[in-house]
């Protein structure tokens, strides 16, 4: 079968792209291994909510129309929203079709999908940034008696054995799951490396309101000093659960979670943690305050100081001087380890040499390097800092569909 473009993945990004292609009358098909919003259906824990407020969940031709614009969507509602969106835009989705291989062909690309072979002049990779857990090498040294879980397979604390749980990683995932598991009565130790600390709200507005209003989320990939770092920044320590100002290390420590430094290695069944926790926390506090300064300056420049509550600063992260550097995993104290150490995309089926030596796809704002007609969407800081979040697909899909369209036009003229 021949089509002009193939989009791989029917999540929010692939569907946004489908809508942009339809707007341009570009013939295409969206291939989906499972159902629409498959990762949200099968690889997310049920208590998860989006970090972004509902009003920010914008996709091309769609805005949030519910009655709780300031709430945070639970995962079931995300699935419903994306599924509704697919119907709304009439996306040509073929569900239950696994892409086994994408190769270059004479007139573009050959796509092996299910039992079919498709040919297309352009391919958009929209399978997401979180297909596989990124687990450090130290995982191999965890004693066999300990249950190991990743956020992709975690559902709720009930699936964990009774006993202590070591959560590795203090991103949004790590702090959320540490809190949930701790609430189940299991003593939790959280190993915290570099992390991003932000309050849920500041001066009466959601932090994502500030991130958007100050222009931070709109910062372009080609204007960011250290793009590799920006693309690998852990997600902010926030939760979509209503209530608390912070989901940070202070909050967890106050509830009784034991905070330790970044996991260094596991030797002889003993986990060793970094002694740099104090500096890790100082860096996170400094970074948070730099953003709050920027927010205050922006508010003053806009003349908003009269209508907003007064600026203020939050208490520094407290680090217990008695923080242990070691934890014996064979002592019986720890029954399970949860690797909240991040995710990586799965592009193993992409049979085109476009990845660098560490397996990252090389692209210029989503235009894949060295493979004209190949695009990638739905990656952290793909084109702007907003690209990391659902609404980032709004503008990213527009820019990349525009590029794809002119790529096809150039080919026609030849």
């Amino acid at each position: 079968m021949q089509t002009t473009a193939v989009v791989v993945g029917a999540g929010h990004a692939g569907l946004a792209m489908s809508r942009r292609l339809t707007e341009r009358s570009i013939d295409h098909v969206v291939l989906e291994r499972g159902e629409v919003a498959n990762s949200w259906r099968t690889q997310r824990w049920p208590s998860l909510r989006l970090l972004t407020p509902n009003w920010q969940t914008r996709l091309p031709g769609h805005g949030y129309a519910g009655d709780d614009p300031d709430g945070y969507m639970p995962v079931a509602e995300v699935v419903a929203t994306i599924s509704r969106y697919a119907r709304l835009i009439g996306a040509p989705v073929r569900t239950g079709v696994t892409v086994h291989a994408v190769r270059t062909a004479a007139q573009g690309f050959q796509i092996q999908a299910g039992d079919d072979v498709l040919y297309a002049r352009a391919v958009v990779l929209a399978t997401g940034a979180c297909s596989l857990p990124a687990i450090p090498g130290a995982a191999g040294a965890v004693p066999r008696s300990i249950t190991a879980v990743t956020p992709l397979t975690y559902r709720d604390p009930g699936q964990l054995p009774d006993g202590g749980v070591l959560v590795i990683g203090a991103s949004a995932t790590g702090v959320q799951l540490a809190a949930e598991i701790h609430r189940s009565g299991r003593p939790v130790t959280l190993a915290a490396g570099e992390h991003v600390r932000l309050p849920r709200s500041y001066r009466g507005r959601d932090i994502f309101w500030w991130l958007e209003a100050t222009g931070l989320l709109a910062e372009r990939y080609d204007q960011i000093d250290d793009l590799v770092r920006a693309r690998h920044l852990p997600s902010p320590q926030l939760t979509g659960a209503p209530g608390a100002t912070f989901s940070d290390l202070n909050t967890l420590a106050a509830r009784g979670v034991r905070i330790v430094g970044r996991l260094g290695r596991i030797t002889g069944g003993v986990a060793q943690f970094s002694g740099a926790l104090a500096n890790t926390c100082a860096l996170a506090d400094l970074k948070m305050n730099r953003f709050l300064n920027r927010a205050d300056q922006w508010a003053t420049a806009r003349g908003l100081d009269d209508e907003l509550p007064l600026p203020h600063r939050f208490a520094a992260t407290r680090v217990d001087p008695r923080t242990p550097l070691e934890l014996d995993l064979n002592s019986g104290e720890i029954a399970a380890v949860l690797w909240a150490t991040g995710f990586r995309p799965d592009l193993s089926w992409l049979d085109i040499p476009v990845c660098d030596r560490v397996g990252r796809i090389r692209h210029d704002g989503g235009v894949v390097t060295g493979a004209p007609g190949l695009y990638v969407l739905g990656m952290p800081v793909l084109r702007t800092r907003a690209s990391t979040y659902i609404h980032g697909a709004y503008e990213d899909s527009e820019a990349l569909a525009g590029h794809l369209h002119s790529f096809l036009s150039r080919r026609c003229q030849r």
């Binding site: 260094g264 060793q272 970094s274 002694g275 500096n279």
Partner: protein
Amino acid sequence: MTITDRPVDNGVNVAALLGAREALSSAPDAAQFIWRASCTWRNGTHSRSTVAGFAGLGAEQQHRSTYEFDVDHPECFASEDNGATPVEYVLVGLAGCLTAGVAAVAQLRGIQLRSVTATIEGDMNILGILGGDPDVRNGFEAVTVRFAIDADASRDDLQALIAQSQKRSAVFDIVANPTKVLVELA
């Protein structure tokens, strides 16, 4: 930060450092360095270590001259005190690394330094190395570095300066994090 007409000069070639990061990111083999030292026993607890060459940028490299370091223990350890103790060399390494980082980060951030002094202390219970108490470790229980910095910058900027210096410090990482160490017979 004070903005003056005079360009900030801490004696750090930031352009060269940024250029190196750019160049080495695309030539990862050249970024692989091997640092070396050799140590010869003299007498008692006294030894002399020599540092001369290292490998990096895809070639063997030489220091401008050979550096020698006497290592010994103090008289209260019944030694002759011909040089600093090994643990003090660790402190020297950490202080030197963090201070170099302070200068480089300050240059990058446009902060003119007038003086930087680091005082560094490592707490140690020597019952560990004496084998007198199995619950006491051999190494430092804690290390404290205190920076006195005179510069054209706010206290917040200086906090950020020393935080970033720690983040980019090799010796800070070596001291704060586990490292695989192999000691074998030649």
